[in-house]
Amino acid sequence: VSPQRGADASTDVTEDVESFRLRAREWIRANLRTVPPEATVGTLRNDRTDEEELAGVARNREVQRMLFDAGLAGICFPREYGGQGLTPAHQRAFNEEVVGYEYPSRFQAPTLSPCAAVILDFGTEEQKQRHIPAILKGEELWMQFLSEPSGGSDVAGALTSAVQEGDDWVLNGSKVWTTGAWWSDWGLCLARTNWDVPKHRGLTVFMLPIRQEGVDVHRIEMLNGSKEFCQEFLTDVRVPDSDRIGDIDGGWAVGTRWMFHERMLYNSPLVTVPTGSSHGGLDAATLVKVARDTGRLETPEASELIGEARTLELVKERLNERLGRGMMAGKLSDQAAAIGRLFHGVSASRISTIAFELAGSIGAAWSDEDGAAKHAGEDFLMRQASSIGGGTTEIARNVISERVLGMPRERAMDRDIPFRDVPRGAPTRS
């Protein structure tokens, strides 16, 4: 029986990958519930009540704590902050062993990365001690207060303002596209602290509790009825200067790294992604069920479509693996993570279209008896979410061409002028 290892375990010898794997396997089988593969499939499906969602959050917190107590939380986080101080190979082993079992999915993105990753990169010692162990123990769920209603891709064009008053900052503005802010604890917030310099030079990053006076969380209803996405309205929210991350007006250095972690997500050694996971999109196994439930499993057309989807899925997996290894070995630029992001978006779109094709007329009108095919219509309506969320594929294409391939940069009309003079469109949501 493996000894229980807490955060303060002081083993000097690094555990080798195979004994770690066996320890993880034994613990997972003894402590975690198995989950059917369908539980993780589908893009933002509207298939849970609020009560079910909150129960899921509570169970995630509990499992995160169990992992922490078992010495399995934060596999690649430093030991001094409650992590295991192990290697990406250990995390990969865990990803393989956890397939088919529950895991604290809501703690992965954006809590462990980008948020905890950014705190590790830029936080003071005190900030790291305060938040990283709390995150690894399941006590803090984080949200990215990054996108704004005025524009999703132009992140550095943030309009949320932070004004210094004594030892505090006072924040006003609005953030959007936070998944599950209504049950989360902390926000990592990019705000404008200087309007008289060009846009990238007047930003600062703050940490703030979400459940407080002045933070108003509204849930946005997506076209399929899902209400997981939120918008926050910040009104005179006071943040102590000790909760600032990085330098005053130095927020873009933080933001650049932040978005790197976001694009890295499925390659990041800081998060758990069960091997073969479709990252919330559809997978070939689901398409087989759609074909089965529509009675066309044996047809050559279905085989060809399923084969196409499976091919894209395999290429995506192997591509992510290659990019991760290449970046780790210094063979590929860190910006190459955008290649994985682009491929994920484009292939997920195609796979969703294939599911819709296989579903036939059930895609137009369905009943509860239509099995896996009954989701195809609404999944198809939500298809583009995989090319939008986490940074659009258009931005990924800019990053690939400019930062990976070194092609000329787009001309920026807002580069060298004070941000207050940059032309802005009319507000859309506010």
Binding site: A285, A302, E308, R310, L312, V315, R397, I400, L405
Partner: protein, 379 residues
Amino acid sequence: MLLTPTADQEVLRATTARFLDDRMSVDVVRSLRDDPTGYPADYWTQGAELGWAALLVSEDNGGGTVSGFAVQDLSLIAHEFGTHAAPGPLVPVNVVARALDASGSAGHLEVLGELLSGSATAAWCYGEAAPHDRLGDIEVSIRGDGSDLVIDGVKRPVEGGADAAYLLVTGRSGAGLSQVLIRSDAPGVTVRRLSSADLTRRFAEITFDQVRVPADAVVETRIDPADQVARQLHLALALHAAESVGAMQRAFDMTQAWAADRYSFGRALASYQAIKHRFADMASWLEGGHAISDAAITAIDADAPETDELVHAAAAFIGDYGTELLQECVQLHGGIGVTFEHDLHLFLRRVTVNRASYGTPAQHRRKVGELNTQRRDTA
């Protein structure tokens, strides 16, 4: 191509790259357009000295891998064949060499020696004439007649078939498959040269009319003949994948340089966002191609259970996106891209021919689909 080759693998790759730089510049490749064999005889024997035919053969039989991962090693040579659009029967010779190495009979080892030295080449007679040209469709018969075997039927396209001294013929024998190694000048064998989309790679149609061979022509290995044929197919497809990725890489690099140098309306082509985004898409296909090709190759070396799926997925993806990438490169070059004078077509030809050899992308997709529906419909 492997992201992190071992030092020995890198020496192997670089040696072949230098040799091809020296012997097979694009001008030389062009000049071989009407050469019947597609390459000078000493080119192949010198290549054999660099290990082109030896990597998959056991040390006992005169070969050897440099890293312990023989197909990985060979994939680096295939990659360089792609980046140079180099001629030579790399795939058929290695498929046959590996089969003869596994057979190990005295007669077969003698032939293997000739392949290793490059003094002779061999061709694999696998695919058949339409409408029997679908993946896995075998109509050629190899039937027993007394102590002899008799081969009947037509194989095409056979790479290197017109210039090979030996033919490995895959045929149907009763309920199963069987393979025999014969001399290409055996009575009853007729060879007809075919035209090809490739400039230097030569293909033939080979007709077997009551070709009678002794029983020891059978190439028997320790595994079931159908599995042996599947392994040969995996090897051929994976090497084509590695080669096509080499050609994709070369075309991509050429086109990126072109876009930087070419000015329209007072600015470099590379500065237009519409064009940059197409390069980003191509970069994702290219890196995806590298990744899935290496995955297939590594699976073969490991004899991994997912080999069948990975190899056909690699063939499907690289078949589709390899030709798509090359055609995009042509489009971005404009008119010059469809001229003989420009080098781009050398690489377009290579991915085009590979895409249509040993099955088509649609057939490979269907195969991947069948593997998944068979595996999962009971789940």
